[in-house]
């Protein structure tokens, strides 16, 4: 029983990471009907920049005074700014022109190409080996007692869950409550009409890419302490997030959280009860099943065709 709880718990924390990345896909898909096929690289870059930043902060004379935890917190704004800039670069080089050509193939190939370039540059800067990311929280697992079951939890896994929810809520809050956020929603609803109302939709799309990469970079520093950090760390995560985005629905905010949890939990269960080699397989099967049964995703709404 307790092993089951433990599996479900780590499934939830992995799933939240998938959810945040998929949330990033949604942000750009809503405004521009495109998404960044190099999102995994955005995550890896975020984590690597975070690693350099935290080592730098911790290495300064104040470092020993403030400790790893505070260094981690101080590093986060730097990573967010970096992610923001990286997203604008992706939009400028990979998407803007491709949207005007109206070719599906164009932006898919150019965002993949940018992902490849980023990965290669990261390999040249940070090397090809996985690096250890200092953990801001104690790494020893704590025991949680639910009365009927007892299981062990890594504090960082808890931090992932809260961090992921926090960034998604922050972006949602921004979109709903600020004027600029309203422009984002307006563009998402009808790009042409928003443009006619004087909204600079090009800038909105660019901004949504910036936000998308920002969330990915944040996900990178969230997950980094419990894995190895390196240029290729994002590839599989980005791919899983595709599955999550489709399962939850590319157009539904709630969907990615639930989709992430479904995928994360199925994976850890498959990994433990069947074989760790097969843990990635149920994702694809779920993905195909959801597309076959409800193509707009579990929580997505079918769009109305306009003539």
């Amino acid at each position: 029983m307790s092993i089951l709880f433990q599996l479900i718990f780590s499934g939830i924390s992995v799933g939240m990471i998938y959810g945040v990345i998929a949330f990033g896909y949604q942000l750009t898909f809503a405004t521009s009907k495109t998404l960044n096929f190099g999102q995994g690289e955005a995550l890896a870059l975020g984590a690597l920049v975070g690693l350099t930043a935290i080592n730098f902060i911790f290495g300064t004379i104040w470092g020993t005074y403030i400790g790893v935890g505070w260094s981690y917190l101080l590093m986060i704004p730097l990573v967010l700014v970096f992610g923001f800039l990286q997203g604008t670069v992706v939009e400028r080089l990979g998407v803007r022109q491709a949207i005007t050509i109206k070719s599906e193939a164009g932006w898919i190939m150019s965002t993949i190409a940018l992902g490849i370039i980023f990965k290669n540059l990261a390999e040249n800067i940070w090397g090809r080996d996985g690096l250890k990311f200092p953990s801001p929280l104690p790494e020893a697992a704590m025991t949680v007692n639910l009365g009927f079951a007892e299981f062990r939890v890594q504090p960082m896994e808890l931090a992932i869950i809260f961090g992921a929810l926090a960034i998604m809520l922050a972006v949602e809050f921004f979109n709903r409550k600020t004027v600029f956020g309203k422009a984002v929603i307006a563009t998402a609803n009808d790009r042409e009409a928003a443009g006619l109302m004087g909204i600079n939709t090009t800038r909105v799309i660019s901004f949504s890419y910036a936000l998308s990469s920002l969330t990915a970079a944040f996900a990178g520093v969230l997950v980094a302490p419990i894995t190895l950090t390196g240029a290729t760390m994002g590839v599989v995560l980005g791919l899983k997030a595709f599955a999550v985005a489709i399962i939850g629905g590319l157009s539904s905010g709630m969907g990615v959280v639930v989709g992430g949890l479904i995928l994360g939990i199925t994976e850890t269960l498959t990994g433990y009860y069947i074989s760790s080699g097969y843990r990635d397989v149920p994702g694809l099967i779920l993905l195909l099943l959801v597309l076959a049964i409800k193509p707009s995703g579990l929580f997505g709404r079918a769009t109305i065709k306009k003539l």
Partner: protein, 660 residues
Amino acid sequence: MRHITKGFWLVGIAALIAAPLVIHNSYYLHLMVAIAILSILTLGLDVVFGYTGEVSIGHASLLGIGAYSAGVLVFLFNLGFWYALPLGLVMGGVFGLILALPALRVTGPYLAMVTLAFGTIIQILINEMVFLTHGPQGITLYTPLLVNLTEVMSWLPSSWSESLPSVKRIKEIQFFYLVAVALVFTIWVINRILRSRFGRAFEALRDSPIASDCMGVSVYRHKVLAFVISAVFAGFAGVLFAYSEQYIAPNNFSFELSILLLLAVAIGGRKSRVGPILGATIIVFLPNLLADIVLFRIVAGVIAAIALVWFIQSLVKRSESIRQRILPIILCLGFFGFSLWLKQITDFKLAIFGVMILFVVYYLPDGIVGFFRHFMPKPKPEQRHNSVAAKNHAAGFWNNPIKSANPEILRVKGLKKHFGGIRALDGIDLVVQSGTIHGLIGPNGSGKSTLMNLLTGIYNPTEGQIELDGQSLAGLNSSQIALKGVARTFQNLQLFNELSLTENIMVGLNHSYRSGFLATAFALPQARREEAAARQKSLEILHFVGLADQGDELAKNLPYGKQRLLEIGRALALSPTLLLLDEPAAGLTAPDIVELMAIIRKIRDHGITVILIEHHMDVVMGICDSVTVFDFGQKIAEGLPSAIQKDAKVISAYLGQSAT
């Protein structure tokens, strides 16, 4: 032009036959085999990527499926090449179907996402299922010896058989010819498919998916078909690949290869046969190019030189595109400079690869073939069809007009369509008499077009029934409804712009073919007969709408008024019982409108019921047998045109209530 292409292909085949006699180095022969095998794959990929515009990032895995079909047969059952070949084709097709059926249900980047995930999963599965695939250790196979020449020759004098090359060499040559035949066969079959109704459908669904569905050409089914075709060729290439490399392992079929294959099609040139082959050649040499810094500098220099010539040409011609050409030329020169600066290349291999993709996407969207096509004189459209012959048979397609036995062809009961809180249609009852022209009028936003979209299955009703000829249309999609005999035109024209007039009509005639896919792919006599018949019929229809002399023109080049007529012609190709015309006179000049009215009357006289939405009152009053008036999603009046004109409700709906 046709002769030139034919000559070109004959030279190509002759070169293939001569190659092993000239090339004695088995490394180069192997390179040619590799190019041919990848060409089979990229030619198939072009059907999806070039023609339907969908992106597949899983073709390397489909190649792997084919290769492992061969590998597993050897590994587990010791069965050789001739067993692997059919299995590879079937497995490619089956996996293609499993991916395409769910992924293509919705438009968007779904196929790319699904195939990308599939690629990763397949690599994991091949690694994990050791009992089947031998896992990461891979499988070794041996190039088959198809005909044992030493045995065949054994009855000859011994001096002859001694002069034969070694068994290894014979194997190489035989396998080369086998792959060459496979390549020529692939080109032939793909040409047959793309020039048939299937190829037209692939292009049509890209131009206007809605119109395709409404012509009975299901977008979904044809996209799935295109993907399965390409998957079968990928499986085919996979079997050949396994026997050519003689060793396969999971990491042969990586994500990078899938991207490389897409790059091959894009860089060579989409929607052509030469392009994918050229692209395959480039990607076979790419690893060598990216491993040798000197070679890389030379190639970068040549590219920069070509770009410079291209730029100077535009300066000389003073063409307007100079400003657009500045950036790519700077990039090309910069790339050359970068190649000179670079000390060693291996660390930046992938980044260079990425830059190549970006460059192709932005500055070479039509590939190398498209780039050089710009310099060639444009071929004149060939007058392949005799329009006089069409004139003589102009009445042909009216021979058996479909008359409905039912006096009421269309019955609509309590039809509602709500978009959120907006009641676009709020409980409509409508009966259309067979063989009449029934007008639908009403102010903008009164629900006329919504009704049209409900009748053709583009929308699903919120409530209510639609019966065509006594049969309910509930639950049918657009293309099924079209095949039941409901044709339509569109308020905003939805022509297949990249197709000729004749081909536009022939898409509408898609329903008239009986021969299946295989009969078409192998150009069996029945398929050819039907193609000729459809071409003839399309000319007759063009003649009927007065466009017979422009049959080979592209639809986008037609003036607006003629485009409306072409749309009516395309709808007639469906041999409909009910024809829906959505504002056919919008934007037409007065003489065009007279011609249009005559055509609509003729259509009615041949037994086709017409529903006409129109704002030109003189058209409505002039040709309609009865008229229904809509306002705010409800029917406010119905009857003869003359009665409608005097109806107080109608007048107030159009002009507003009088003040008194």
